[in-house]
Amino acid sequence: MKFTLDWLKQYVDVKMTVAELADRLTMAGLEVDAVENLSQELNKVHVAEILEVRSHPDADRLVLCDVAVGDEKKQIVCGAPNAKAGMLSPLALPGAVLPGGVKIKKGKIRGQVSEGMLCSARDLGISEDHQGIMELPQDLTPGEDIVQALNLKDILIDVDLTPNRPDCASVIGIGREVAGFCNSRLKQPIDPAELPLLTGQGVPFSVDVQSVEDCPRYAARLLTGVKVGPSPWWLQKRLLAIGLRPINNIVDITNFVMLETGQPLHAFDFKKLTGGKIVVRKAASGETITTLDGQERELETDMLMICDAEKPVAVAGVMGGANSEVDPETTEILLESACFDPISIRRTSRRLKLNTDASFRFERGVDPQGAPLALERAVRLIVDGGAQVVDDGIDACYDIKEPPVLHLRIQRICNLLGMNFTGEELTAFLSGIEFDVKQLDDNTLSVTPPSFRVDIEREIDLVEEIARLKGYNEIPSTLPIVPMSFPEHDEARDLRKQLANIMTSLGFYEAINYSFVAEKHFDMLNLPENDHLRQTVRLRNPLAEDQNVMRTTLLPGLLENVRHNVNHQVVDIKLFEIGKVFHPHAGNLLPDEKFCLTAVLSGRRAPGSPVIHFKNQETDLLDAKGVAETILRELYLLQIELLPTDSIISYGVAGNIIELRANELVIGYCGQISAKILKNFGIRQEVFYLDLDFDALSSLEQARKKFSPLPRYPAVKWDLAVLVADTVGGGEILKAIKEADEPLFEHAEIFDLFHGDHIESGKKNVAISITYRSKECTLDDETVGKAHQKMTDMVLSRFRGQLREV
């Protein structure tokens, strides 16, 4: 809600500075969003009279204007199409600086001297109008300073209204609040006691409200002898200051009265209403209307319409129809001031995607008693402009909601706010904002809110009013006394935190991506048509096509992150994300949401360290595998095996995939992103990934942490070097050794693995160091020798190996 200080002062004495006013409004729940000085900087702009318009000798689109500024005459080159002799217009003289930063200088334009610039309203920052130079009211004196002549200096205040305060969607409503905290009286432009009684006797029009539940009140009056033309400057100025474009005197007056009182009005050209009749009814099926914005709109049968004898002439409470619009030839006007059901108006405005100043007020609730007053105000303003009003009018009232009578318990409000109040204090607060209060007994007040406070319906609403009027900052601060209890932990959440800690300890940074992705990501990952990851939850109204489905995998987001980083020359990347993926669940309203952990690795193994320390070692799949192994070790999930697999993953390099599985349950994969997918994502370096299904992970039982006594006797290490076929995996040999059931075995480690000149092709040398230890004694060579021999024989026979000299 925008208004100016000057406007507000029409209704209330503001006994404070603007800064104080803004603060008081904010603390009363009317948050001031902006305070702006209008036309503070504008100088050297004066009212000028155009005496003569001559053509420019060297330019078709320019004219030369001889203008008078006070006693001085000047020649101005002007490009505006509307410059004509006799017109008054603002002239910026050399030295003026316009709001857009334009500095005015005397100069020549196409060879002709120009001693200033004739200005449009936009040039002066008054409005957005830039169709021609501004035409000023004829009663101004040429030469006068424009800021003074137009009384432009003012302060714009913008209040961010909450939906519960439609009464403050009006300058009078704001004034009422200000009067409350300034202890001054509200000055209404019309005394309600002066309102004429509208009986509907003998008026030359009729009103037939057929949907009374949607239109509890409909008041209308007829004006004749209307001359449609520009509004007087004081009215234009009010509208311009808050950013509304003046249209003509009739439309401007209805807008002005709406802004002043909060009651939307509508003016019909009476001659365009067939049968001189207003019918308020629901749209018939198949009906259409072209609204004032020129759009033809198809109507639905629950939309409330204002119709004449034949057709809809306005969408009730939202926008008028073009077929009954006031135009320059209009001489008779039917002025509507009505009250509509908020839900009905909101439904219609949503459905038509048409939000107007009128619908904004109606859907929040206007004062059901406000219609006659606003009507009278507009009638008087139009009559002031030279029209006549037909005696009497119609005020059709149906089911007008009476304000509720509420009981406010003093003890209740003290308990809820945590401070003490007396009945007198409460009465004083509420009376100050026009509530009617009676004390019923020691503990109870009977309170009736004024009709414009449609938001006050319950005792709790009064509690809020009291808190607001007392000032929230006057309420004490205490800590609640509650029984001690242990808040249960969410184990899944704890596990996620533990995983995140492991990942950061391993050098990964956490990424957070949007939960929605592009459907095309699934193509970019080369997923088969029937892949379950393509079964998505789809948004009906995405912001962009690349955010149209809920993600089913975290990988695309992370690959986009890799691309982003590489494109910004950050090429050493270790990122992980722990987040939800979404899978539709047939038969359920809501999809399944489960957490995944995905990590990507790319670039050097030791980012941040000087190259001389780690050379340029690049990450590879074994880095990803090591991450997986660390996670499993730290989570005590010792039952999970990491096995190379022949499984095909559409985005992975075949043969470079490691599966994490516990028996039949696949927990996740490590792998390398294939070249084709990298190309799809625009990444020009190798990327490895780790993908874990969090739910599967947390379904597994963790081994219990258990102490093993520290060994008391020394260990011995014996080495073993075998020549085996290339196809034999080093890890398989280690696994066989571990599982050999040798009681003295403690640990085995591959310390060398090579092919080479001295080795026949198709074979490789695997050098293994085996640690033996006994719990009972220090081992001697003979005992170890026996065990090692057994182990060696097992390895040789099992893997068809040959022993090599160590």
Partner: protein, 336 residues
């Protein structure tokens, strides 16, 4: 005998002083202190000394032996420390150290953990709910019926007529109160979604909702708890103010501002020259919400609050563009 002992002592002391390295020291030990060394040889002659002289000579011999052994240990320690403090050739100590890779949580997670930690310290339990939510829990259960103008405050992503992406974490109020009885102290952190995107809005962001329900909970309690939060999250000198606002599921409703942490009240672009920054929405839980979950508002009262994590992180770290959070640029992530 006595002369022989003293002579040996002098000879050994001179020899020990001349030792330069560990192998020399070992030679010394073998020659003088070893089982077959010179000192042992002299000691073996002790039996030949007369009975009356024996205690005195024996004592002298022991004294000399202890002295020699003591000097030997000192020499050994001196030689040891000499070796260990000698730098190895070829290490340039001015080089930067080797960096063991080290990662960090996303700033949003860091702030989220901090916020949750403060409330967990006050005894609040943590609960999480679905991101894809029903219209019922997101709106209706919170006293926002269809066609309520408050729906304008939520630019909602819809999946279909009844299903949407939650626009706040407040649905957890309804979900938890529906299944549990007071006293309740719960916070609900999570992702929320609004269809809005510019320098101060992303279509996804993070909120923490919290609520406390018991007998006799007042607005003063709400102020107390949130003041503790602000003092811990920022510092206890941070100014705080409560002002009236509107949420359909709380009444009275409040918005909580803190003194601008950027300009300290002088006025700047971030606080729009007001000196105040809005960081929390809160209020007493509306009796209508209690009715819907079967609590008697005459018996129970409570408060609820909600705050945006990104905004707090922006204020704490001076981040000026909210979109940076979701690009996951490492130049950004490594800063926090």
């Amino acid at each position: 005998m006595e002369d022989e002992l003293l002579g040996l002592k002098n000879e050994a002391s001179t020899a020990l002083a001349a030792v330069e390295n560990k192998s020399g020291l070992e030679d010394f030990r073998v020659k003088y202190l070893g089982r077959k060394g010179l000192f042992s040889a002299v000691m073996r002659k002790l039996g030949q000394v007369s009975k009356e002289d024996r205690p005195r000579i024996g004592k002298l011999a022991n004294q000399i032996k202890q002295d020699l052994e003591g000097n030997f240990s000192d020499k050994l320690a001196a030689l040891d420390s000499q070796t260990s403090t000698t730098p190895k050739a070829g290490i340039d100590l001015t080089l930067p150290g080797r960096h063991i890779p080290f990662g960090k949580l996303h700033p949003v997670s860091q702030i989220m953990d901090e916020v949750c930690g403060i409330f967990e310290g006050l005894g609040f339990a943590v609960a999480e709910g679905p991101d894809v939510e029903t219209d019922f829990y997101n709106f209706e259960a919170l006293n926002i019926p269809p066609h309520h103008p408050a729906r304008d405050m939520h630019d909602t992503f819809y999946v279909d007529d009844k299903v949407l992406l939650r626009t706040h974490t407040s649905p957890m109020q309804a979900r938890i109160m529906e299944t549990e009885r007071p006293p309740l102290r719960v916070i609900a952190p999570g992702k929320v979604y609004r269809c809005d995107s510019d320098i101060t809005h992303t279509p996804m962001f993070h909120q923490v909702e919290g609520f406390l329900v018991d007998r006799k909970i007042s607005f003063a309690d709400l102020k107390g708890v949130l003041s503790v939060f602000v003092a811990k999250m920022f510092d206890d000198k941070t100014a705080i103010r409560f002002r009236p606002s509107f949420f359909p599921f709380t009444e009275p409703s409040a918005e909580i501002d803190i003194g601008c942490v950027i300009c300290h009240g002088k006025g700047c672009r971030v606080c729009k020259y007001s000196g105040w920054l809005e960081i929390l929405g809160a209020g007493l839980i509306d009796p209508e919400v209690f009715h819907r979950v079967g609590y008697d508002p005459e018996e129970y009262s409570g408060f609820a609050f909600g705050l945006g994590i990104e905004r707090i992180a922006m204020l704490k770290y001076g981040i000026n563009d909210i979109r940076l959070y979701y690009e996951n640029d490492l130049r950004f992530l490594t800063q926090f």
